[in-house]
Each structure stands twice: as structure tokens, then as C-alpha cells.
Subunit: 272 residues, 2 copies
């Protein structure tokens, strides 16, 4: 298999940004409910993108001072519009690269990183850099998915093949779609103490029609569907085979279908 | 691939029965804590085997009248010894086949079935039969694993190949090692109302040494290791490849390793 000509990084086109926002609305309780920072604390959100998580983060910590950074000025502009529309006033947006950080050491009480490490070639190095930005005793919180955690009923090799295209493309782009399971060793290897990781499993059957629609169809399957052209261009799969796989994924959202996926949330503390 | 000469059914040899008891001790809280039957209610435990779940079931419902059945007289004898040693007095053991049930229709208030459906060729038919044994308004509770829910760090194709041998052997024996994800449609198709399924995910990293030892090593990896001879005899895998896979599974229980597995618990009610 060869690498795709056009590197695929999700979060950077309009359909993708709609998907990420749907995802945040559907999953925000599951992923974010247990993250709240004290009044007056300074929080760095790394890789905020279009602000899909920023509104929830800011609402759950209304008196914290949040700095949300991203590489992309376009994404930051959307994030500003989104947070202003939501009446959020405690977020400062700033264009920045964590590998060339403009911040002084020990600038932040807490750091929050959601759906970012999966895109990085050197996630452990990024975490070590972020650790230096934390004050002693400060915390880092990571949230990542893991596409190897997806399984479903009815069983389908075609669906698995389509998912494998996404995993392959993300790897070819330097990322890792299977990073969720790896948060514990990454945090430990990057020098954090008191590392705790908890899985956040999304289990979907037809007793939960909101999740069938919001997660199985509009989040996960839409994401896989979104790599169709890149997967075909990279000759990872034939068009018919890919389409069969996507159809099989939609099939898991019918009355007798089941879909499972797990996000991982990890926290660590900088040594005092 | 051909079917194994000697059919593999776990739970029917001494090492396996030790493993199942270790599993029950390690996981009983996760799987059983939310099952408690009212005083005086009649409960049928189907396929109690060596009583690995019976002690917990009986302790959580000390004033229910439990009837625990199994096909195997040998297993029932072990289950009797085990429950007597635990001081359990509310369980009656009986040798019986659910496909040739000695019980009258509407004999039980509740039915409990744990790690049994995975071994049956006709699980939906078994559930329909059990439904007839329930009084109107009575409940059925199912607990099953799903070996397709196992994933881990470090990644290993060899480990996956060894797991696939177990899945294949269980299928060749008429069972289904991936049945956990299927509980919702099975209960619905068998005519139960108010069907609810919840996943019980076991997440193991080195902050949880008891689970690394009790679950990753002694439950899951030991179970896979237990099919070595059958897998080789069935020519599913070369001995060296299987051993590499098992070594890779043990590797996930080292300091930087992670292991994930999910059980599914489902309940349904018989129409009043």
C-alpha cells in the first residue's frame, strides 16, 4: 500500500468541522462532565480547532481563564464566532504551535488536550513540552478516541475494511487513530505523576435512537465516509468495497443493530 | 481452515474451572453488583457449571429461592461443594437441559444466565424456551463476554491471531465468542420487553496491578493459552506463531501495557 497523495487530517474541512461539532454536542456529557477548573485558574486548551470542545470546556469552568490555541487561523476564526454566539467570555484565542510555544515555562495551572494527540507524529514530545508549560502540581487532561475500539452487529468484514482505510490514512499522515489505548503509557513516559485513565464507552442499540443517529450515523460512519476519496486515491480499497463497508456501518444503526466505540480520558499531574 | 477434531468447550476441564472461578472473584462486583432478587422470589440459574457465579448470585439475593441447573453432573457436584463451603443455603442444584426442560411453564419469577449463550448453537431458541418458564412480568438477565472487544497496547498482530484461534474454535463447536454485542437483538427477537443492555468494560493499566494479574494474565490470556493444543491440532496456526501471540498478550501486562475487554449485561421482561 502506498501513502495517499493528499494528506488526510480531519478537522480541516467544512464537512469535517460540522461532524466534530455534532460529535461534541452528542458526547459532551460523556467526555467533559468531570472536567471543571477552579475560579481564577489559568487553563491552556491545545489544538482547539473550530472550538467544538471549547464551549463545553468554558461552560464547565466559567470562572477559569482559558487560553485556546490552534495552528490554523481559519479554525480559530470559526472558534471565535462559535464561542461568542454561545455567550462565552472567558476564552482568549491565540494562534500558536505547541512545538514552538510562545508561552513561558510554568505559565498555566492546567492543560486540556482533546482529539489532538491522534494527529501528532511525536505525541510524547508534545506532552513533555506541555509539561514544561505547567506550574508544579498542575494537571494535564487528555481525551482521545481509538478506532480499534469500534465493533458492531451485524458483523461485517467490509465495514472493518473501510475503518482500516481511515486508520491507514491517519497513520500515513503521521497520526495514530489507535492512540486512545495508549494514553496511560504516554502520560507516564512524559513524566507525569498520578496518571489515571478512564475509558468512556459509547454503546448504541435501538433503545438509544439519539445515539444511533448522532453517534453511529452522523459521527463515526460519517467520519469513515469522509475518507472515501482519499482511500480510493491511495489505492487502499476499491470503490465498491468501500461503499459496501459504509453501507454495513449504516446497517448497524437499524433496529437490530449495535455499535460500540470507546474514548479514553487521561489525567496526570506535574511533580510539585 | 478445518474444524478441530476435539470440540473445545470451556468450563469443562480442571484448569478451565479454576480460571472461571478466578474470573468470578475478580469481576464479580463489575458483573453482579446490580443483580439482587426480592425475598421469596424464585430464580432459575441456567448453566451454573461449577458454580463460579452461583455463590455471588446467592449472596446478593440471600432470601431468594435459587434453582441452579446444568447439563453436567460433574460440574454440579463441584458447584455443590463450592456453595456449601461458602455457607450458601438458598440454592437447589438440579441436572437439566434447557432444550428439554423439566419445569412447568411460568415456574420462575426471574432467570439468570451467565456465560452460557456463547456456547449454544441456537441461543435465540434457548431464550424463547426460557421465556416460557418465566411468570408474566418476570425478568431475564444475561451476561456474556465478547472476544472481539479485546484490544491492547502494545499492538500485536500475533496476539490477535491467537485470539482469533479461540474465536474460530468456539464457532466450530457451535458457539459464538462474539455474542456479547448481540444481546440486545437476541432479547428483542426472543420476545422480551423493556430490553436494556449495558457494557461492562474492563480497562487495565499498571495503576491496577490486581486487574493486570487477575484479568489480563490469569483470565483472558490464560483462556487463550488454554486453546493452544486444539488450535494447533486444527491447523489454525503454527505453534511458534501461537506462542508469540500469547507472549504478546502477557506483554500487555507489563508496566507500559494496557488491556481492554468488555462484558455485556442485558435484561428483559416477559410481557404481563
Amino acid at each position: 500500500m502506498q501513502a495517499p497523495n493528499r494528506v488526510y487530517v480531519h478537522g480541516y474541512d467544512p464537512l469535517e468541522s460540522t461532524r466534530l461539532q455534532d460529535q461534541a454536542r452528542t458526547l459532551s456529557e460523556l467526555l467533559h462532565a468531570d472536567t471543571s477548573y477552579p475560579p481564577g485558574s489559568s487553563v491552556l486548551e491545545v489544538g482547539c480547532g473550530v472550538g467544538a470542545q471549547t464551549v463545553t470546556l468554558a461552560r464547565n469552568s466559567p470562572d477559569a481563564k482559558i487560553t485556546s490555541i490552534d495552528l490554523s487561523a481559519t479554525s480559530l476564526a470559526q472558534a471565535r464566532v462559535k464561542t461568542e454566539a454561545a455567550g462565552i467570555t472567558n476564552v482568549l484565542f491565540q494562534q500558536a504551535d505547541i512545538f514552538a510555544s510562545p508561552f513561558d515555562a510554568e505559565s498555566f495551572d492546567h492543560i486540556f488536550v482533546c482529539f489532538v494527540l491522534e494527529h501528532l507524529t511525536r505525541p510524547a514530545e508534545a506532552l513533555a513540552i506541555l509539561g514544561r508549560l505547567l506550574k508544579p502540581g498542575g494537571t494535564i487532561t487528555l481525551i482521545e478516541g481509538d478506532h480499534g475500539s469500534a465493533y458492531f452487529y451485524p458483523l461485517s468484514d467490509a465495514a472493518q475494511a473501510a475503518i482500516n482505510c481511515q486508520i491507514h490514512l491517519q497513520r500515513a499522515a503521521g497520526g495514530n487513530a489507535l492512540i486512545g489505548r495508549q494514553l496511560y503509557p504516554l502520560l507516564r513516559q512524559s513524566g507525569f505523576d498520578d496518571v489515571r485513565v478512564s475509558p468512556r464507552m459509547v454503546y448504541v442499540d435501538s433503545s438509544r435512537p439519539d445515539l444511533m443517529d448522532g453517534f453511529t450515523r452522523k459521527t463515526f460512519t460519517a467520519m469513515i465516509e469522509g475518507v472515501r476519496e482519499a482511500a480510493i486515491r491511495a489505492k487502499l480499497i476499491e470503490p465498491d468495497a468501500f461503499d459496501s463497508g459504509v453501507a454495513a456501518l449504516y446497517r448497524t444503526a437499524e433496529a437490530d443493530g449495535v455499535f460500540c466505540y470507546t474514548f479514553f480520558k487521561g489525567t496526570g499531574q506535574k511533580r510539585r
